[in-house]
């Protein structure tokens, strides 16, 4: 059975806020459904942009098979840091899952998909809103 360490947030991410016990339940449930061994979750520091806990989990991955995120929008905000992290996961032949998005990262192609979704999510606040269409 593959061992997975959970990863949760204590701060907002992309305008969302989810209580930690709910994040924990969702991660645990994902592990159960996919037959992964759940190794409790580590909580990221609440300072904005902090990925210190994530890096620590990554350094422990020799004893783990993967990292279980509540959402893919909890990945590092900075594009370069995010890409570097995802690439490291793939290169080390580990995996990461994102429970809310029901998505498992295991190859370079998956990184591309994650990046595209991130970029669209970031641009959406700048797109027209429903009310704007009425003024066209």
């Amino acid at each position: 059975m593959k061992k997975v360490r959970g990863y949760m947030f204590s701060r907002n991410f992309m305008g969302e806020r989810v209580p930690q016990h709910i994040q924990n339940q969702v991660i645990r449930n994902f592990c159960f459904q996919n037959n992964f061994q759940y190794m409790l979750s580590a909580v990221e520091y609440s300072m904005s942009n902090s990925s210190l806990i994530l890096n620590q989990i990554f350094n422990e991955t020799k004893n783990l098979d993967g990292i279980g995120f509540y959402s893919l929008f909890q990945l590092p905000k900075k594009e370069e840091a995010r890409y570097k992290f995802l690439k490291k996961i793939v290169n080390k032949k580990k995996f990461a899952f994102f429970a809310v998005e029901d998505f498992i990262l295991s190859s370079s192609k998956d990184i591309e998909k994650i990046e595209t979704i991130w970029l669209i999510k970031k641009i959406l606040p700048k797109c027209l809103e429903a009310k704007d269409f009425k003024n066209v």
Binding site: S71, E101, I117, L124, A130
Partner: protein, 271 residues
């Protein structure tokens, strides 16, 4: 408003606006057959059933209720949904079955629901009912449409109903009077006005999910098998169902891709 759409697009748009839905013959039969074949093989796998090759797939699906125990229905449904959604080609074939009309009605940079839904409605079963509702009332964005694909011929109570736009306008103006205290009461007030969809395998239904729709107990003698999936323009507003968790981009165009990755050059302050 300026409208540069071609005349066939204008006609389809007008029909969609007037009826709230469109039914068309797929121009990609191979994709549609792939979907049905996958469902049949998933049933064989999950329900331990064998589709006899001398019988049609239509008959196999229509008579499904005679082959299983009623209390196992939801369990079977969930297992089949998992199998079809694990198949990497399934979503793509689903999209291709309806692509031409989606490009006309919605746009050509599309987001698609991440998981396709499957409905199995056996005769007289009241456990899989979908009371009258508009998807917008439960958090969907009005920018979405539903592509509904039957795997068998659907008619009367074996199908679904939709309230036409002209009737919905009356409801909208006086919602409390119509809705009463329950969806049952609501349906009783509109049931003579709803349009029952008659659709055969090989055809695709695309409908405006903002209009009230639903189903009732299937009083026909055959099991209904249908799938549904939502599509929207990538850059139009999302409702409670967000990009990533519910929708994913499937036809991002290269200009948008380049724009998303574009960064203004940095100016070094010293220079």
């Amino acid at each position: 408003m300026i409208d540069f759409k071609e005349s066939y697009e204008k006609k389809l748009s007008k029909d969609f606006k007037k009826k709230g839905y469109l039914i068309f013959n797929t121009n990609d039969t191979a994709s549609l057959n792939y979907l049905r074949d996958k469902i049949v093989s998933s049933i064989e796998r999950t329900c331990n059933l064998n589709h006899k090759k001398n019988k049609s797939k239509e008959e196999f699906l229509n008579t499904f209720h005679k082959k299983i125990k009623k209390h196992n229905l939801n369990n079977h449904r969930l297992k089949i949904i998992n199998l079809i959604n694990k198949d990497r080609k399934f979503k793509e074939k689903y999209f291709h079955s309806a692509k031409k009309l989606l490009y006309t009605i919605v746009g050509n940079e599309l987001s698609m629901q991440t998981r396709i839904n499957l409905s199995i409605q056996t005769p007289k079963d009241n456990s899989s009912l979908l009371p009258v509702h508009s998807d917008i009332w439960s958090g969907d964005s009005p920018f979405e449409v539903v592509v509904w694909i039957p795997l068998v011929n659907c008619y009367k109570t074996k199908a679904m109903y939709i309230l036409p736009p002209n009737e919905y306008k009356k409801v909208e103006k006086n919602f409390s009077k119509y809705s009463g205290n329950s969806s049952k009461e609501f349906f009783s007030k509109i049931k003579k006005k709803v349009k029952w969809i008659h659709i055969d395998f090989g055809q695709i239904l695309i409908f405006n999910q903002a209009l009230p729709h639903g189903n009732v107990v299937n009083f026909e003698k055959e099991t209904r098998w249908s799938m549904n999936c939502r599509f929207k323009s990538i850059f139009s507003p999302y409702g409670d169902k967000k990009i990533g968790e519910f929708f994913e981009p499937i036809t991002l165009k290269v200009a948008s891709e380049l724009a998303l990755k574009y960064k203004l050059p940095q100016i070094d302050e010293k220079s």
